[in-house]
């Protein structure tokens, strides 16, 4: 009841002042913003020409002086495997074969994703990402404007058919995604994460951010892409489930 009262009040104020109505008229729809983003990175046709990617990157925690190497293999429609290695954490291997999300780490061994973590793995491992947003997004809403690193951006809340909602910040000038607010589902609980995207570069006709700054749990992590190889040949069996994961699934 309280929410309804508030909504009525806001509408009434808008009618009287006329300000809110004009603002809404100039605020692009979420559909328009997402479509503009797809065009900004090169368009659907360019994206369709890429079927696999191999990415080498370095992930750093600058304040703590930590650094780790990251290797990622992805393929249509939704297969992925990532290996992170460092002296601090050992080896962390994660994958998604289209159905099963999993990880194997030096410290905690094998684990199969379940529940919300699996749902988010489904959301995050689509090769095309937002390029094909109409296929997997249940609802998209513009949530006003915000500054990101001093530049105006539009906020778009994207609710997928499967997985939790995320808020994208699209630069008003370039239409590119400059920030993402999301939640990492971990065995330790939900952790709010902010990601800042920059240094977009053209890779086979598709613009990709080559620097990603993450803020989570009070720490800053910076990923810098060292190489992106589109349409790379993926080693046979690269997306197969590891034996430890197969053994876990067999026990269920």
């Amino acid at each position: 009841m309280r929410r309804w009262t508030l909504a009525v009040t806001v509408c009434a104020l808008a009618v009287v002042a006329g300000v809110e109505i004009r603002a809404q008229e100039t605020t692009p729809s979420a559909e328009t913003l997402l479509d503009n983003y797809v065009k900004a990175i090169g368009g659907r046709a360019a994206s369709d020409k890429v079927n696999t990617r191999v990415i080498k990157a370095r992930l750093e925690v600058p304040a703590a002086g930590l650094s780790m190497s990251v290797s990622t293999w992805t393929a249509r429609p939704n297969k992925a495997r990532t290996i992170l290695e460092s002296d601090a954490v050992g080896r962390i291997e994660r994958g998604f074969d289209g159905t099963v999300g999993w990880e194997v780490t030096t410290t905690t061994g094998p684990r199969v994703y379940e529940g919300a973590q699996l749902d988010d793995a489904v959301r995050d491992n689509r090769f095309d990402g937002l390029v094909t947003w109409r296929e997997w997004v249940a609802k998209a809403e513009t949530r006003g404007a915000a500054d990101v690193d001093g530049k105006p951006a539009w906020k778009v809340l994207v609710t997928p058919k499967r997985g939790s909602a995320q808020t994208y910040f699209l630069d008003q000038a370039s239409s590119l995604i400059v920030k993402l607010e999301t939640t990492a589902r971990t065995p330790m609980g939900d952790v709010p994460v902010e990601l800042f995207f920059s240094d977009y570069r053209d890779v086979a006709g598709v613009r990709m951010p080559h620097r990603v700054r993450q803020l989570l749990a009070g720490q800053e992590l910076v990923s810098v892409l060292e190489s992106v190889t589109p349409n790379a040949e993926i080693p046979a069996g690269q997306f197969d489930l590891p034996k430890e994961i197969q053994a876990l699934l067999a026990k269920k």
């Binding site: 925690v61 703590a64 650094s67 002296d87 030096t106 609980g189």
Partner: protein, 435 residues
């Protein structure tokens, strides 16, 4: 992440035992540029604690007042040491572990063999009845080759008579949980030196004539590990079968997950059918939390069971068990003492709370906070805590430590006879449970 704090402790303690400040500097004046670096470092420390300490009240400390009172000391500092002392005075007001400023120059050189603490004789010491007693000798170390044995009393190091100085320390150090660590470190820091140099020791063997030995300093035993801004750490494990068939695994620190988890995994498989497993964390200085989680997964089978909470400023994380496919099912005894710190205390508390292990030894150090180490504008490093740990039963460990289920102290007479009373008590319990 306690190692850096321990290192600072070692420097200070060495000064106490020798009667001289090892980091003493002549006032030479600081350049305007250097002074600005120190002020920037002070400001970074002040701001970091204000923004990142898990407790917004900063443990009740008037932080603005602390800045007003201590920043002028940095501005007026005549030496790097003076400036650093003011910064340490700032974080000392919090009255918590895991806050310290580590001199950058010493930090940079720690691992190259040229600093006073880079070489090790291989002697581990505990202060028992106001005497510096060798509690263990590291296998393969210079001390082991020289014939040093557990139970010996170190009565003279170089030109220093240990007994009177130790007596003074025992009387003067405040009665805190960290006192046992301070005392042991005061002696052990005198048994470290530059690689290639040596130390002359005089020992009371307890069961025969005294011994005088010259022991060289060598690169410490273990796997040298450098992670981020941490100083180099030599990680040691010791896996062996005790005479009755019980497995034994000792770990010096929770650093280097690849090495530690591999060694622990092999120990689990080796002793899977043994009467039980003794995990020795005495003297374990802590390390990274992910290794705690990993070892827990080998020992506790309840997937998803919450065993503790990590509290940050705006975030609370559950610590839950992620068991291995085939966790260890046998009896587990864990050994601790006053030098068991940080991550090791979390593992012990968790195993104790879940009833998975019985804890033997003496109360732990109560130095349990989630911490990190950052580089400061003046080149020093700043270790600070940003998270508190609360066990699933609601107990804080910082300042309290873990009280063993079975209190057992080391005894010199037993060590001389080749016995370790704490291990003996754990093995006896495992054998009783077996019967």
């Amino acid at each position: 992440m306690k190692r850096a704090a321990l290192f600072v402790l070692a420097v200070l303690a060495c000064g106490l035992l020798s009667g001289a400040g090892v980091t003493a500097q002549k006032p030479t004046g600081l350049s305007a540029e250097r002074r600005a670096e120190h002020l920037a470092a002070f400001d970074q420390i002040w701001t970091t604690v204000r923004d990142r300490h898990w407790d917004p009240t900063l443990n009740g400390v008037d932080w603005e007042r602390a800045r007003r009172e201590l920043r002028p000391r940095v501005e007026a500092a005549a030496t790097d040491g003076d400036a650093r002392a003011a910064m340490n005075a700032l974080v000392d007001r919090l009255g918590q572990t895991h806050f310290s400023v580590i001199p950058g120059d010493v930090f940079e050189l720690l691992g190259d063999g040229s600093t006073p603490f880079s070489g090790d004789a291989g002697i581990r010491v505990r202060v028992l009845d106001r005497r510096a007693i060798v509690s263990a000798v590291v296998d393969g170390s210079p001390a082991a080759r020289a014939g040093v044995r557990a139970g010996w009393e170190i009565v003279r190091v170089g030109d220093t008579d240990v007994r009177p100085r130790l007596e003074r320390l025992v009387n003067e150090l405040p009665e805190t949980l960290l006192k046992r660590a301070d005392l042991a470190t005061a002696v052990e820091s005198r048994l470290k030196g530059r690689v290639g140099e040596s130390i002359r020791l005089e020992c009371d063997t307890g069961d025969g004539p005294g011994r005088a030995l010259i022991i060289p300093f060598e690169v410490p035993q273990g796997v040298r590990t450098t992670i981020g801004n941490l100083p180099p750490v030599w990680v040691r494990t010791d896996t062996r079968e005790l005479p009755d068939g019980t497995g034994y695994f000792a770990l010096s620190s929770f650093i280097n997950p690849v090495y530690v988890m591999d060694e622990f995994g092999k120990a689990i498989e080796r002793f899977r059918d043994s009467p039980g497993l003794v995990i020795d964390l005495r003297g374990n200085e802590g390390g990274t939390f992910n290794i705690v989680m990993g070892m827990l997964g080998w020992l506790v089978a309840d997937r998803g069971r919450q065993v503790g909470t990590v509290v940050q400023r705006n975030l609370t994380l559950k610590i839950v068990v992620q068991p291995r496919p085939a966790p260890y099912g046998g009896r587990v005894a864990v050994l601790v003492d006053g030098l068991s710190m940080s991550a090791s205390e979390v593992l012990v508390a968790t195993l104790q709370d879940t009833g998975r292990a019985r804890v033997f030894g003496s109360r732990t150090a109560g130095a349990v906070l989630g911490a990190t180490i950052e580089r400061l504008p003046n080149g020093d490093r700043f270790q600070y805590a940003f998270a508190d740990y609360v066990s699933v039963t609601g107990r804080r460990l910082e300042g309290y430590g873990v009280v063993p289920d079975v209190a057992v102290d080391l005894r010199r007479d037993a060590l001389i006879k080749g016995h370790d009373p704490v291990i003996d008590a754990a093995v006896e319990w495992i054998q009783q449970r077996r019967k």
